[in-house]
């Protein structure tokens, strides 16, 4: 809802820097919940809307975003090369295979997270905001220096949470660390609607009863994500697939469009399941 307010405000008078892009960090605390995949797909979807987008892989030492985007062979310089002035930003930016509006700034693979100087990272993100509409920062797992550096230059946050106790707990912690400045919004990732119906997985409502964040959307756990990652072609390129469409809907919401948050299809429960929930109380 903050988005809705902030976006129309951007082209409006706002005195000093009229067209600064938005720097959004994608974070979760816990690893393996899909931050990188979400960054790649959201970036692809935002670029498809015509926005100029740069994806910054801040996971120094564990470079992955290039793989998900299928750009690994094009990376010549990385984030630390730029921060340490061995390469200019333009030398390091890798253009995407599918969209001319989409660029990647890869992480360094052979370095460590605490080799990044927070002020330099802030300055770089600030410089990128002058050139791009969106700077999406793929945050490393954890809440140490790598997290702080990734967050330093951002002014908004998207938190990725899977419907698991540990993931929700970590997101809760991260949201506490972020504070109010980042106006965090939530993407629930890897939801399995059938398991939710059977009472075997936390529902989106369960997760957000705890987190209480503005919900950008829900991404269903689907095997196709693995296939597209194998190929290095984000699922958001397939707009006709339901998950691809969900990424586009999330992108539209990020851009401030008033579209409903993508939710998993509400499949009808079987008679047996309904009986089960009658006898078992409200446990579904």
């Amino acid at each position: 809802m903050h988005q809705v307010q902030s976006v129309p405000a951007e082209p409006a008078p706002s005195a000093p820097a009229a067209k600064l892009g938005r720097a959004i960090v994608l974070t979760s605390g816990k690893g393996g919940v899909g931050k990188t995949t979400t960054t790649a797909n959201l970036g692809t979807a935002l670029a498809a809307r015509g926005a100029r987008v740069v994806l910054v892989d801040a996971d120094i030492g564990l470079r992955n975003l290039d793989i998900v985007l299928g750009l690994e062979s094009r990376v010549k310089h990385h984030l630390l090369d730029v921060l340490e002035e061995r390469a200019g930003v333009d030398d390091a930016l890798v253009s995407d295979k599918h969209s001319e509006n989409l660029f990647l700034l890869a992480a360094a693979q052979s370095r460590e997270k605490d080799e990044v100087e927070t002020e330099k990272m802030q300055a770089l993100i600030a410089a990128l905001r002058e050139r791009f509409d969106y700077v999406l920062i793929d945050c490393p797992a954890g809440i140490e220096l790598g997290f702080r550096n990734a967050v330093a230059g951002a002014d908004e946050a998207i938190v990725i949470c899977t419907p698991e106790v540990s993931a929700v707990r970590d997101v809760d912690r991260v949201v506490g660390l972020l504070g109010n400045r980042f106006r965090p919004q939530l993407i629930v990732n890897r939801l399995r609607p059938a398991m939710v119906r059977k009472g075997k997985m936390l529902s989106v409502e369960d997760v957000n009863a705890i987190l209480r964040l503005p919900l950008l959307g829900v991404i269903v756990d689907e095997p196709q994500i693995i296939v597209t990652t194998n190929r290095g072609e984000p699922l958001a390129l397939q707009r006709e697939s339901s998950t691809g469409a969900a990424y586009h809907a999330i992108a539209a919401r990020v851009a401030g469009e008033d579209v409903p948050a993508p939710m998993p299809p509400v499949a009808k429960s079987s008679i047996l399941e309904r009986l089960g929930s009658i006898f078992g109380g409200k446990r579904a």
Binding site: E164, V165, V168, R169, D172, R173, V175, G176, L177, L178, G179, N180, R183, V196, K198, G199, K200, M201, L202, S203, D206, I210, R212, L272, L275, G276, S277, F279, G280, R283, A284
Partner: protein, 144 residues
Amino acid sequence: MIEFLKRLFGQPSSSATAKERLRLVLMTDHLELAPEMIEKMKHDLVDVISRFVEVDRERIEVSFERQDRTLAMLANIPIVAVNRPNGTGTNGNGTATTGAVKEEPAVPAASTPGATAATPPVRKRRRKKKAQAKAAAPAGAAAQ
């Protein structure tokens, strides 16, 4: 079918278990992350109790304990003297103190049912804050 039978016999679904575990673990986390809130609560608690009995502020212990499905606040508040039922003065003498020490175990015992009831408000308070001010206080506290 097994699932159906399990539900029929009242075994909670695994998502219900997850929800319950999450609720408890987060309450514990939030308490751990907000020591100054506990200090303030301790302070206010003593202020209220002090209207009725004289307590030893230095030796107050407040702790939180997981009890099956709830989080309980346990307070051990040594009483130094008890006010006269109708009077205003306190009975601060040696005998009263020893008597109070004997009463000590009774205090946490008596506080337990009350504390169980007191747990939801702690949680509610945070939720309310979060809903209204977007977690201004807990977020700020956690950021430190």
